[in-house]
């Protein structure tokens, strides 16, 4: 609009006035504004007049719009047929609008995609690993039976005679089976192959609901000593090794160089515990005079099936009472021992509940952040279009109608996002499984099935509805006055509150998640750094089993190991090589009771320890420091005096501050084992374990057919392994190396669960942070764009651009501070929740909390800096001239 003097009032303000004014008043309103504008332009200059015009227009908008709305209501509205046609119209409108300004809908789609994909992936993992029962019939009724040892820990094994008593006396069990892993060597192809075998009794098939695909399962007569040796193959092994040859059943194969008759093949879906991939089952036979028949020799794995309608608690009570009875009846071997059952699923997947809760909380937090982002985007969009809504209202659009449109506009991108999320989720699951194979015990069972899709649908609808709430609420309170002031430079109170809520929520959630992640990360790091008690570097260990069929006596077996060690020591770069039966982070656990001869037989109070049977120099190969006395030498053989070593934990438990060297003990039915040395204590299975007592015995005085060969040297591990493999084949081609890994690898894989938790939390935390950055950036950028005029005026009044930047950043930080406070509380809560997962770090570790808070402050400041810089570049004149 041009007047006589050529002064132009601000175009946008004129447009605003035109929009809000009732049609019949419009020319007069504009004329009156122009009169005053010209007057002021003449008196005080054009810039001041423009500022006046804007202020006056903004102040006028509310009453004019209210008047306009009032007049519109007075007019009869044009009736519109409601229902689906209208809803489809809204969808069409939403899509058309998205085409026109695609940025916000794209952001919503992207946010929903990420949020839903992460949620679906984690839910799929949780569902597959934690929620679903194990994949065999009546699996929920199967428990593992273990032994409570005096220090309160539960050994995953039982003594054979005890197990027979439990089977006889615990009527809550409908079946109890014993099993023991026992790898064998198969001679089938050109090379001997190590085969993962499980010795099981005849009840095994009943407990695990096994069915043969061919032939039969094992029966009681198979376990009788002297019976024909038989085996049942797993389906996979049968296919892999024998090409699914149906005529194999009834024929013999050579295991450990002996003929064994194949009597059956398991069905393809058979679930075999405790090893997910067992190649064959052989009968468990216990020789009459073996140590395996000792009470107190905890070597057998045991699983039982509860009778229908028997609860875990009832069964546990029965087991405990039998355990008590046994410890009274056999005080020497069984004092302090008792039975403990644990649902098999818990055994397989670890403790379910805390992990599940952790996941659920983390997912909810991330999804909430995503929702808040989407809510903000929708709100921002609605606000940018508040004039459109005002016009619709003014023209008779009911609040409900407008509200529905807002909802549909939110649902459209949300649904698109969740569909994309579902497409992306399997990729994430795949990634999760690929990166952490050990961390997920049932990885092959994870998939995007119906429960996941249902869950995602529910999550999407909930998220979309949640995201709409702030906007819908504002639309409900649609008095035009608020929303027509939209151009007001000071910002609307509602809008500010909404963005405060957004920033607060996101900062709080991010803080809690990141702090939790940092706690888990610190735990992982601590454990990783914590010394296992031995020097694990540059050491390789592998397992070798010498079958009695080839090396009939212990002396022959020892001879074989001597030749192996001599050969391994000639490998270039190898410094030390020896053998042990108790490999830290390798196998577990031969546990036994013995008698301290200085105290005499104390019956139930006799000391107990893990038994390790070792070759000379094993402690140097493993890097376990010798604290006192001497280690085993080649002279400690069957002809010389019996000697043992203790670890520090055992020495302390048995002798306190007295010198253990020279003390005598009775073990294995033999008196006068003399303590000659003390080794440092080591962790045996987990870095988080306490260090347990160990009794070391020289192999020449207590031979074992199954040993770990430990090789320490400077050569690369792979070269050592390859060379060792070649040398062992040269000595005896029928014997295989198994469980080959460096000690570092073994320790690292023992941290699988910790790593999984830490990575999961870190991933979710990073996702939360990324979403929060997007959200905070949006809020700050939006508020800066709304305050362009204010900033322009400030700069016109002489505020320097660095002050503008500082103001924007400090404003953002001020808003974020509420989130930091709230997040602080949430973080402490989260830490408390996590405390059972934490090792070496307190759940309210001040250092980590401070670091997390600092990180968020930096992130918020950095995020706000971008918009702040743009704000500071505002040209005051441009800002004052237009929007």
């Amino acid at each position: 609009m041009t007047n006589a003097r050529g002064f132009n009032p601000p175009r946008l303000a004129v447009r605003l006035l035109s929009i809000v004014s009732p049609a019949e008043d419009r020319p007069y309103v504009l004329a009156d504004f122009n009169v005053e504008f010209e007057d002021r332009a003449n008196r005080s200059g054009l810039a001041a007049a423009r500022v006046w015009y804007w202020r006056e227009a903004l102040r006028s908008a509310t009453p004019l719009a209210a008047r306009r709305a009032h007049l519109a209501r007075m007019r009869p509205t044009v009736g519109t047929p409601g229902g689906w046609n209208e809803a489809f119209g809204d969808v069409r409108y939403a899509l058309r609008l998205s085409r026109r300004s695609p940025l916000a809908p794209l952001a919503i789609v992207a946010t929903m995609t990420l949020g839903i994909a992460a949620t679906a992936a984690v839910f799929a993992a949780a569902n597959g690993v934690l929620l679903r029962p194990l994949p065999f019939p009546e699996s929920e009724r199967v428990v593992r039976l273990g032994t409570v040892v005096p220090n309160g820990n539960v050994a995953p094994t039982v003594a054979y005679p005890d197990a027979l008593d439990y089977r006889r006396l615990v009527h809550e069990f409908s079946a109890l089976t014993l099993f023991s892993r026992n790898d064998v060597t198969l001679q089938h192809g050109p090379d001997p192959e190590n085969v993962r075998a499980l010795e099981v009794d005849e009840s095994y098939g009943r407990v695990f609901s096994l069915k043969p695909a061919l032939g039969r399962l094992l029966v009681a007569s198979d376990s009788v000593l002297g019976a024909q040796r038989v085996a049942v193959l797993s389906y996979g092994f049968w296919m892999r090794e024998f090409g699914g040859d149906r005529s194999l059943v009834g024929r013999t194969i050579r295991l450990d160089d002996e003929p064994v008759t194949v009597v059956g093949v398991l069905s393809p879906d058979a679930y075999v515990f405790p090893r997910e991939s067992v190649d064959l089952l052989t009968p468990l036979a216990v020789p009459p005079h073996s140590y395996m028949k000792n009470r107190g020799a905890l070597w057998a794995g045991a699983a039982a099936k509860l009778r229908p309608a028997v609860s875990e608690e009832m069964a546990q009570r029965a087991v405990a009472s039998v355990g008590d009875m046994l410890s009274h009846e056999y005080p020497v071997s069984n004092h302090g021992l008792s039975g403990r059952i644990r649902p098999l699923r818990e055994v397989v997947v670890g403790s379910v509940r805390p992990m599940l809760e952790l996941l659920a909380a983390a997912i909810v937090a991330v999804l909430l952040i995503a929702c808040v982002n989407v809510a903000n985007l929708i709100l921002g969009r609605a606000q940018a279009r508040s004039r459109e809504f005002a016009v619709r209202s003014a023209l008779g659009g009911s609040p409900a109608r407008v509200r529905r449109q807002v909802l549909i506009e939110a649902l459209v991108p949300a649904v698109i996002g969740s569909v994309l999320g579902l497409v992306l989720a399997p990729v994430l699951v795949h990634l999760l499984v690929a990166v952490y194979p050990d961390a997920l015990p049932r990885a092959d069972e994870i998939g995007i099935g119906a429960p996941v899709v249902l869950f995602v649908m529910a999550a999407t609808i909930a998220a979309a509805a949640l995201s709409c709430i702030p906007t819908a609420r504002r639309v409900t309170r649609f008095d035009l006055s608020g929303d027509l002031r939209a151009g007001n430079g000071s910002g609307m109170r509602g809008e500010r509150r909404a963005s405060r809520v957004l920033v607060t929520t996101q900062v709080a959630m991010s803080l809690a998640l990141l702090f939790s992640a940092s706690l888990l990360g610190e735990t992982l790091w601590r454990l990783d750094q914590s010394r296992p008690g031995f020097d694990s570097h540059r050491t390789v260990a592998f397992h070798v089993y010498v079958p009695a069929s080839r090396y009939r006596t212990v002396a022959e077996a020892n001879g074989y190991y001597d030749r192996v060690l001599d050969a391994v020591r000639t490998i270039p770069g190898v410094n030390v090589a020896s053998t042990t039966t108790l490999l830290p982070f390798g196998n577990c656990c031969n546990f036994d009771t013995f008698v301290q001869e200085d105290l005499g037989d104390q019956g139930p109070k006799n000391p107990q320890a893990f038994i390790s049977v070792d070759g000379p120099g094993f402690e140097r190969a493993l890097g376990i420091p010798l604290l006192r006395g001497r280690s085993f030498t080649a002279q400690d053989d069957s002809a010389s005096a019996r000697v043992v070593m203790l670890n520090a934990a055992a020495a302390k438990a048995m002798y306190g501050i007295r010198d253990p060297i020279g003390q005598l003990i009775s073990w294995n039915g033999q008196p006068h084992w003399r303590v000659v040395g003390v080794l440092a204590s080591t962790h045996l299975m987990e870095l988080s374990d306490e260090q347990k007592p160990v009794l070391y015995v020289p192999e020449a005085q207590a031979g074992r057919r199954s040993r770990y060969v430990v090789v320490r040297g400077d050569a690369p591990a792979n070269d050592v392994i390859a060379a060792a493999r070649a040398r062992l084949r040269a000595i005896d081609p029928t014997i295989a190396l198994t469980d080959i890994a460096t000690m570092d690898e073994r320790i690292a894989s023992s941290l699988g669960a910790e790593r999984f938790r830490a990575v999961l939390m870190a991933t979710l935390g990073a996702l939360a942070l990324a979403l929060a950055i997007v959200g905070i950036y949006g809020v700050v950028a939006y508020s800066v764009s709304r305050r362009t005029r204010e900033i322009g005026i400030r700069m016109a009044l002489g505020e320097a651009s660095h002050e503008v930047r500082l103001r924007v950043v400090t404003d953002a930080l001020r808003v974020a501070s509420a989130g930091l406070v709230l997040g602080f509380g949430l973080a402490l809560l989260g830490g408390k929740w996590l405390s059972s997962f934490l090792v070496g770090v307190s759940p309210n570790d001040g250092r980590l909390l401070a670091a997390t808070v600092a990180l968020l402050v930096v992130v918020v400041a950095a995020t706000a800096y971008g918009p702040a810089r743009r704000a500071a570049k505002v040209d005051p004149m441009t800002a004052l001239r237009g929007d």
């Binding site: 008043d25 007069y28 009156d32 005053e36 102040r59």
Partner: protein, 109 residues
């Protein structure tokens, strides 16, 4: 007095300005009068909306002028207080006066 005939304070100010301004009352002059005398900001939009409302109630008669016969002259919407408007103003102000009679409200203007 029937409901709806109570005047809001802003309406009172507008009506009072109309009485004072007589034939020269349109949004700009009303605004200046209220701001000068009542020391209250009054936006042009609020005044337009206000006289619209008052005319709905019959307290104000509106007259649209033709564009003024001067350079840049434009249409104006003149407002004149009606008899009913005067009565309403009188009743509302005297109600206020009766209410505050004898009250000590302090000396701040």
């Amino acid at each position: 007095m029937p409901k709806g005939h109570f005047l809001g304070d802003f309406e009172m100010l507008v009506l009072a300005a109309l009485v004072r301004l007589g034939d020269d009352a349109y949004a700009v002059t009303i605004k200046h009068d209220i701001e000068r005398r009542a020391k209250r900001p009054a936006s042009l939009g609020a005044i337009h909306a206000g006289i619209g409302r008052l005319s709905d109630k019959g307290f104000v008669a509106l007259r649209m002028s033709d564009p003024l016969p001067v350079q840049g002259g434009r249409a104006r919407k003149y407002a004149r207080i009606t008899a009913a408007g005067r009565r309403a103003l009188r009743e509302s102000t005297s109600a206020v006066a009766r209410m505050i009679e004898g009250l000590e409200l302090g000396t701040r203007s």
